[in-house]
């Protein structure tokens, strides 16, 4: 299904390209180029940064996309060269990584815990090449840098915000698949709600996730967007008026369900994850309360800069509220829905999490 979609996109691109050919064929030929005018220094120009996606592809509006855009931005900023390879299944990981090694990539980003085995194998075979793996902390090699995020910290803030704006006293969340990189959001969200209840002596319920049993509502897919609509309709049906989907592209299904429900008289809000949904999914601006962001792009750029300066190390990078690796996005259009009290409380909680006085504990937090 995904393939069909991608083919569709290609055809669209072709049609656009053909139009462009027809419309713009009358320009001036450029004068023969004289002398290079590339920015950046010579070391950067010979530096090759590479990226291999997991099966989500670089257009997943989630961690593949943010890492990819981070590397592209790095290319623009530093003048390095880049190579990219998308995987469609697990069987593509190793061939893709081998191609990167063949091409002589200085540093290769592998996106997702699914690539751990392949990264380990290729990195062991070629210790001179540098790697950085995103969302995995299992590899202990001198040439593999793990990049992980303590997302629960930012999700905690989102949970607190959601509880504060809920009128029905119920907020909901659902995940793609019950795996740590997903449930860490749900843990933080649920704990944020619990913290709100404790502080404000309220009883806001969390639907779709139970921290103690680590069980909850899952679509069991990251591909079928309609499953997100279904799960969201279930949550709304049970009374939730804030929903946080943690399922990549299924967030769009959730947004559609909320838009439809609000047309029918409900007042439901959406919490986006991974990127600022206000920018990446503008269709849902009107219902978007906030987003739990992993700022992968910045991490990618920092790691490339360090490697370029000869300061590469395999010490894990852990994104936290403290270093800005995870964050709560602005409330944008729904700014007025969040009270000034809540905003100041959020600032206090953020400080508390950073200095350790408030503990956000998720089984899935990177150790």
């Amino acid at each position: 299904m995904k393939n069909t979609f991608k083919r569709g996109t290609t055809v669209g691109t072709v049609a656009l390209g053909a139009m462009a050919l027809l419309l713009t064929g009358c320009g001036q030929a450029p004068a023969p180029a004289g002398g290079g005018s590339t920015g950046g220094n010579a070391a950067a120009a010979n530096y090759l940064g590479c990226i291999v996606s997991d099966s989500g592809g670089f257009d997943d509006q989630s961690f593949n996309q943010s890492s990819y855009e981070g590397l592209k931005k790095t290319v623009a900023d530093l003048g390095i060269k880049m190579k990219e390879a998308q995987s469609t299944t697990k069987a593509d990981f190793e061939p893709n990584l081998n191609q990167m090694a063949n091409a002589g990539c200085n540093l290769t980003f592998t996106v997702g815990f699914l690539l751990a085995d392949a990264t380990k194998k290729v990195a062991t075979a070629d210790p001179k090449l540098h790697f950085a793996i995103i969302d995995d902390n299992s590899i202990k090699l001198p040439n593999v840098k793990p990049v992980v995020y303590d997302t629960a910290q930012a999700a905690f803030l989102a949970g607190y915000t959601a509880a504060s704006v809920s009128k029905t006293g119920k907020v909901g969340t659902f995940g793609g698949i019950n795996i740590p990189t997903v449930t860490i959001f749900m843990d933080g969200f649920a704990e944020g709600v619990a913290y709100y209840n404790k502080q404000q002596s309220k009883n806001v319920q969390v639907l779709g996730w139970n921290v103690a049993s680590q069980q909850g509502l899952f679509a069991n897919t990251f591909d079928i967007i309609q499953e997100g609509t279904k799960a969201t309709n279930n949550l709304i049906g049970e009374g939730a008026d804030v929903v946080m989907p943690v399922a990549g592209p299924l967030g769009k299904g959730a947004g559609d369900a909320i838009l439809a429900a609000n047309k029918g008289g409900k007042d439901v809000k959406l919490v986006w994850v991974d990127s600022d949904g206000y920018l990446t999914a503008p269709t849902y601006k009107s219902i978007l309360l906030t987003s739990v962001i992993k700022t992968m792009g910045d991490a990618v750029e920092t790691i490339v800069k360090d490697d370029l300066a000869g300061k590469y190390s395999a010490t894990p990078y852990v994104g936290t509220l403290d270093n800005g690796g995870v964050a709560l996005a602005p409330f944008h259009d729904l700014d007025s829905a969040v009270s000034a009290d809540t905003k100041s409380q959020l600032a206090t909680i953020k400080k508390g999490i950073i200095d350790g006085s408030i503990k956000v504990e998720s089984k899935s937090s990177p150790k």
Binding site: T10, V14, A20, L21, C26, A29, E84, A91
Partner: protein
């Protein structure tokens, strides 16, 4: 006579006769059509590469001032892309290491499960059945093979044989269900096998979260296969090509013998050509459906073995990739002849191995490969399908339809 037969052998839905004729027509073309389909698909793929290339777009901006620039940009875009595809699939002198230069072995690695799954589809095609369920059969084969591969600890050789057998049985069960339902109730195998694909993926996900989950991992992945349970690498640790390739070649020879030399194969072909006539001639069509789907499923199950015991070494929900669906294209392109399927699988293996190289070295999306593969299906399958939809009789086939 026909009434008593009908009691024993439920008459399949009326539409089926028409359906299997389309299959026959799609299958019935010659090798030239296959070659032309590939060539035309590659040409159109080339056009796509040219049109999406930024250099071509820039040069076409001043097309009327300097047309040559556009053509040279088109030439360099297409030749770089297909050059990288070809080198990645065969021999690439520009790769940094000598292991990386020999892409031909990657081609063979990718082709191995495609050969086996392609044979599964081919065999069913020849019996007049459209086995869309290779995907599910691969998953079940891999699941069975995996369960004994990491669940049991047996001495060398024996363990591997048990794994291979388990994979074949797993696939055969999944294929057999479709064959059994077809034979006993007339349930259309296309619908049943598609449904079984969904059941297979949900089943493996369930098992991966419970019984088959690696206790050391929080993710839905199985433990690694035992060292005794994996197919040996044919060329040492530098290349992924494994003994599954030998199984695949043996399977090609076996299916070729089965179809062309054995009594069973004759029955299959008779049923495929005309089930009613085969029934009148005294053949047990229902038994044919069941046995062919068992064998077909077993072949797809072996493709699952090649995946789990050859390349992947552990089970996850993506173990079958898109092999089960690519296998249908491979069988179409191979004209549902065993050796045709073999070479078609090699070509698709080359697309896969070269596609990665093309994506990395020529910055052309690997989606182009998917487009080329889809176009191949289109060119092979479309003419008979369109004729069937609009009831246009092929000029040279008058009298052929019943």
């Amino acid at each position: 006579m026909s009434e008593t037969q009908a009691v024993k052998e439920p008459v399949p839905p009326a539409k089926e006769g028409q359906g299997s004729q389309v299959i026959r027509e799609i299958m019935g073309g010659n090798a030239l059509i296959s070659v032309l389909a590939v060539v035309v698909a590659l040409v159109i793929g080339g056009i796509l590469i040219a049109v999406t290339d930024p250099r071509v777009a820039t040069a076409s901006g001043y097309f009327f001032a300097d047309p040559g620039a556009t053509f040279s940009a088109i030439w360099s875009a297409v030749s770089e892309a297909y050059g990288a595809l070809w080198r990645g699939a065969t021999y690439d002198p520009t790769a940094r290491t000598w292991q990386g230069q020999l892409g031909i072995f990657e081609t063979l690695t990718f082709a191995t499960p495609l050969i086996l799954a392609g044979l599964a589809v081919t065999l069913a095609f020849r019996t007049g059945l459209f086995n869309i369920g290779a995907q599910g059969q691969i998953i079940l084969g891999a699941t069975f093979a995996g369960a004994v591969g990491f669940g049991m600890h047996l001495p060398p050789v024996i363990h591997l044989l048990v794994v291979i057998l388990a994979g074949a049985i797993g696939g055969a069960i999944w294929g057999g269900i479709a064959g059994f339902l077809k034979a006993r109730t007339g349930a259309h195998e296309v619908i049943v096998t598609i449904m079984l694909n969904y059941i297979a993926i949900s089943l493996v996900l369930y098992l991966l979260k419970n019984q088959l989950k690696d206790p050391n991992s929080t993710n839905p992945i199985s433990p690694q296969m035992d060292d005794n349970a994996v197919l040996p690498l044919l060329l040492g640790p530098n290349f992924r090509v494994h003994a599954g390739l030998i199984i695949a070649v043996l399977a090609v020879i076996g299916v070729s013998w089965l179809l062309n030399r054995s009594t069973l194969g004759f029955e299959y072909r008779a049923i495929g050509a005309n089930p009613k006539a085969a029934r009148t001639a005294g053949m047990l069509v229902s038994r044919g459906y069941i046995t062919v789907m068992l064998i077909s499923g077993a072949l797809a199950g072996l493709a699952g073995v090649a995946q789990i015991a050859g390349t992947e070494k552990s089970l996850d929900s993506e173990i079958a990739g898109s092999i089960g669906f690519d296998a249908i294209t491979v069988a179409l392109l191979g004209r549902s002849k065993p050796w045709g399927t073999f070479f078609a699988a090699l070509l698709f293996g080359a697309f896969k191995a070269g596609g990665t190289s093309m994506a990395v070295n020529a910055d052309v999306s690997i989606d182009i490969v998917a487009v080329v593969q889809s176009l191949i299906v289109l060119f092979i399958a479309a003419p008979p399908l369109i004729r069937s939809i609009f009831r246009i009789k092929a000029a040279r086939r008058e009298g052929a339809s019943a």
